[in-house]
């Protein structure tokens, strides 16, 4: 990393990226849709759904790498942005099934159940897909902007900041659990049937959503790469290492932090919006602090500050979770706890860092940047 190459990726990296992207976006759906179920290379439907989920998680991991790996800000509340994007999509899907619910009403079932007579003002507009997508970007983005502005301006740093983000998502979770907030209470929004006219049960739709997630991940990766190899990215890591020096060199850390914080929130929102139609439900437990903390560990396991690492980390940890919760449900939390402990104690640079170390490449000097 001595000479500043102005290209995004090295030729070798571009090749790898191209292969991975093609495989994920094109090959996998083809293997799922075009081949019969009996074929050895057929990708089963459940795997498409699972991988789709993992792709969304990977986007979140990238977002977390941006603010934590590169800028040194540990957020324990990114699940909130993810959930907000998810709710935006969920609200659209609820509006899409107007008249098809149990109560055959224009209003979502849970509102009929609560004896509400009309749609609250904040639900209007979500019948349009474009509006919902706009909200999936704007709501987490604006919220992050406002929250970040006040938090960063007051120079809240380090663990204090992390705690406050945890409280932020916790409070939001409590808010959404209430029935009268109008988002479905603790049941959340569910029972979706179709999106943009396509039935959510059709394999083609699922594959389409999967492919969209893969494309989003590819795009996010390139975007993050663009940011991090630019001078802006170097300022971010400088902020992580010595914020005072950054200030005295003439940069306003507030703006940079706010930028990357808001960007990461928006990315999470998009990930959430893609996630919800694939899993069929969004409820307040998505905002549970535990979820957000898990997201941080995906990035840590993979390797902070590497972009590729967190993608790997997200897939690995969630893959392990899928395996454990089926085979050894009682042990999953132990395993997850162990991952937390082992990663922080033994693998501070994550798996990618381990890989680099083993292959003899240079390590950065100061690991105590936390």
């Amino acid at each position: 990393m001595a000479k500043n190459s102005t290209s995004l990726l090295s030729p070798a990296a571009w090749t790898a990226f191209g292969i991975a992207a093609t495989a994920l976006v094109l090959v996998v759906p083809v293997l799922n849709l075009a081949l019969p179920a009996t074929s050895a290379v057929h990708v089963p439907d459940y795997l498409i759904a699972l991988m789709g989920k993992f792709l969304c998680y990977a986007i979140v991991a990238l977002a977390i790498d941006l603010i934590w790996g590169f800028t040194g800000i540990l957020s324990l509340g990114h699940g909130l942005f993810f959930a907000l994007g998810g709710y935006a999509m969920g609200m659209h899907l609820m509006r899409a099934i107007a008249g098809e619910g149990v109560y055959r009403s224009e209003l979502p079932d849970f509102m009929v159940f609560l004896d509400w007579k009309e749609l609250p003002w904040y639900w209007h507009g979500f019948e349009h897909f474009w509006f919902a997508m706009l909200m999936a970007v704007l709501v987490p983005g604006v919220f992050a902007l406002v929250f970040g502005f006040f938090a960063f301006r007051s120079r809240i740093k380090g663990v204090y900041f992390s705690i406050i983000t945890q409280a932020m998502t916790y409070a939001a979770m409590l808010l959404f659990f209430r029935n009268n907030t109008g988002f479905g209470g603790n049941n959340g929004l569910t029972d979706f049937k179709h999106i943009l006219g396509f039935s959510l049960l059709e394999p083609a739709t699922k594959a389409g959503l999967y492919a969209a997630s893969a494309l989003a991940l590819a795009g996010t990766f390139l975007l993050c790469r663009f940011v991090t190899v630019s001078k802006l990215g170097r300022v971010l890591t400088a902020i992580r290492d010595a914020e005072s020096r950054v200030m005295f060199s003439g940069y306003d850390p507030l703006r940079y932090k706010l930028f990357v914080w808001t960007l990461s929130a928006v990315l999470c929102g998009i990930a959430g919006a893609l996630y919800v139609p694939q899993v069929g439900i969004i409820n307040p437990s998505e905002m549970h602090p535990g979820n957000s903390i898990e997201m941080a560990i995906w990035a840590a396991v993979g390797g902070r500050g590497t972009l590729v690492g967190p993608i790997i980390g997200a897939w690995l940890v969630n893959g392990a979770k899928s395996v454990f919760t089926v085979a050894f449900p009682d042990l999953w939390l132990y395993f997850l706890g162990a991952i937390f402990i082992a990663t922080t104690l033994f693998l501070p640079d994550g798996l990618v860092g381990l890989g680099r170390f083993l292959s003899g490449r240079k390590k950065r000097p100061n690991r105590d940047r936390s």
Binding site: F150, V159, P289, L333, G337, F340, T344
Partner: protein, 546 residues
């Protein structure tokens, strides 16, 4: 309000039987009235029954009690000749209500007097007013309460007489209130005014609806209410009652806020100590609380099965055990894991979160995922009512006392012992302390033990007011962090003010916004407050490294 009606006649009867007979002044002239009244109880006409009841109330003759009792029990019947008869409980025999003679006739030929709710009200009122003569003030108090619940016009005279003779202050005020309630409807303006003022003084807001009716000028039903003086008096009385309500509510909120704040304080104190010393935010801190609570549970079960006679003493035994257990667990964690992450607070945060997951799962596997029951010992159950509407429960008082005790002990330990001196030295300047020969790593361990132990004590306190389940720590961790952020680290006072402050704010906001919104508002307040004062309320000042 507990209804004393069923037990009451028996008590009243006993009370009366213990009175010397001279006290029960019943003239011979009144004797005839008495007989007539008792006979009238067993009439076929409801109005007659009510009038007879009123008559008995006026006479105040306790001999009527068996008949009244029977009437309430539907055991007072009349025969073809209209004689009132009391049927025994076993329904085998009957006696004449007036004379007491045995009745020889057939029981199934008897008829029931028509008793409806209105009649029953009168019966209860009469019973109560008779009991107002009892020498036992507690009985009189109970009777007065009964009557206060159902102020019946007919009881007025009896009440007036009782009030004149009454000596006990509490009974007196209750009787005054009841009379006032009755007099609110009195056609006599002076009486009504007096009643309004009396109610205003009494501070009993149960009368607010009645007063509001009086003050309501639109209410045409009672012409006297339109009188300016009456309306003014009523409005003033309403204002005074509402003021009092506010004060009582504030006091109650203060009390609950203090008790909530004190639990928060114990939870947050340990955190402030470990964070202040080592910069370690221990996400497993909530689980130290949980461990303390479960130790209390285990000790309770142990005592119940092995020392059932001393079952309630599990609590004093649990306290040191909980402290020790949580402290040991904390020290173990410090030695094995946290020590290696020194200087990396964010990673410590994650590692301790992992520990917390393991701890919760362990408890879940051992004790089950459901809540377990920890009972209040008898000496902490119940409470006392300071004024109407404000009951101070013993368990909360106990917690407050306990927490004060723990805080004082902690302060002593930190400020008056060598260990405390070492802790404070290392908190302020680690390398200097180390250079002076203090074993900083040992101090780290002890500090972690101390902080965790205090949390364990907090867990024990929690068992007395809340549910105990594996997720117990989780609900307190966010609040504890808020306290630490708000109060700053390095000084005990900061944590105390932070915890109490949060406790009070939470409680005072609750009635307006509900618990959830309250939490959100608190969060917003903390973030805003931190803007002005990033180091918290009481932080150690000086050249802190960025």
């Amino acid at each position: 309000m507990i209804r004393f009606a069923p037990i009451f006649p028996v008590l009243a009867l006993l009370g009366f039987l213990s009175l010397p007979s001279q006290a029960l002044a019943s003239d011979d002239a009144a004797g005839g009235d008495y007989q007539k009244a008792v006979a009238g109880l067993a009439s076929d006409n409801r109005q007659t029954i009510i009038e007879s009841l009123d008559a008995i109330a006026r006479l105040g003759d306790p001999r009527a009690l068996p008949a009244l009792d029977a009437l309430q029990d539907r055991r007072l019947k009349y025969d073809a000749k209209g004689r009132a008869l009391i049927v025994a409980k076993d329904e085998r025999a009957a006696v004449d209500a007036v004379t007491g003679e045995n009745y020889a006739g057939p029981l199934d030929a008897l008829s029931d007097p028509p008793v409806n709710n209105l009649v029953r009200q009168h019966i209860s009122a009469v019973l109560s007013s008779l009991a107002l003569r009892s020498p036992d003030p507690e009985q009189r108090l109970a009777a007065a309460r009964e009557l206060a619940d159902r102020p019946v016009e007919s009881a007025r005279e009896g009440l007036g007489k009782a009030l004149a003779a009454e000596t006990d202050g509490r009974v007196k005020s209750l009787l005054e209130q009841t009379l006032a309630q009755i007099d609110l409807k009195s056609p006599d303006k002076a009486a009504r005014l007096a009643a309004i003022r009396a109610i205003g003084r009494s501070g009993n807001s149960d009368f607010l609806p009645a007063l509001r009716q009086v003050a309501d000028r639109q209410n045409k039903s009672d012409p006297l209410n339109a009188d300016g003086e009456i309306t003014e008096a009523a409005t003033r009385a309403i204002a005074s009652l509402e003021r009092r309500d506010l004060v009582v509510r504030a006091a109650r909120d203060l009390f609950f806020g203090a008790s909530l704040g004190s639990v928060l304080l114990l939870a947050a104190l340990g955190l402030a100590i470990t964070f202040g010393l080592m910069g370690v935010i221990n996400m497993a801190h909530g689980e130290m609380l949980m461990i303390g609570a479960y130790v209390a549970y285990v000790v309770q079960e142990f005592f119940s099965s092995h020392f059932p006679n001393y079952a309630d003493w599990y609590l004093p035994a649990a306290i040191p055990l909980a402290f020790a257990t949580a402290a040991v667990v904390g020290m173990l964690l410090e030695r094995t894991i946290i020590r290696h992450l020194y200087g990396r607070p964010l990673e410590t945060l994650l590692a301790t979160w992992g520990i917390s997951l393991c701890l919760i799962q362990t408890v879940r596997l051992i004790f089950g995922a459901q809540n377990v029951e920890v009972r209040n010992p008898a000496w902490l159950s119940g409470g006392f009512e300071v004024v109407r509407g404000l009951t101070l429960t013993y368990n909360r008082i106990g917690i407050i006392v306990f927490v004060v005790f723990v805080v004082v002990l902690t302060w002593l330990l930190l400020n008056r012992t060598p260990l405390g001196l070492s802790i404070r030295a290392v908190t302020q300047a680690r390398s200097t302390a180390s250079a002076m020969g203090i074993f900083t790593s040992k101090v780290d361990m002890w500090t972690f033990g101390l902080g965790s132990g205090i949390a364990g004590l907090g867990g024990v306190a929690l068992t007395q007011v809340g549910n105990v389940g594996p997720e117990l720590g989780q609900s307190y961790i966010v609040d504890s962090f808020m306290v630490v952020v708000l109060g700053g680290v390095g000084k005990l006072a900061g944590t105390i003010f932070g915890a109490l402050g949060l406790g009070f704010i939470n409680k005072f906001l609750e009635p307006f916004s509900g618990a959830v919104l309250g939490k959100i508002i608190v969060l917003v307040l903390v973030v805003v407050f931190i803007q002005k004062r990033p180091q918290g309320i009481f932080a150690l000042k000086g050249r802190t490294a960025d």
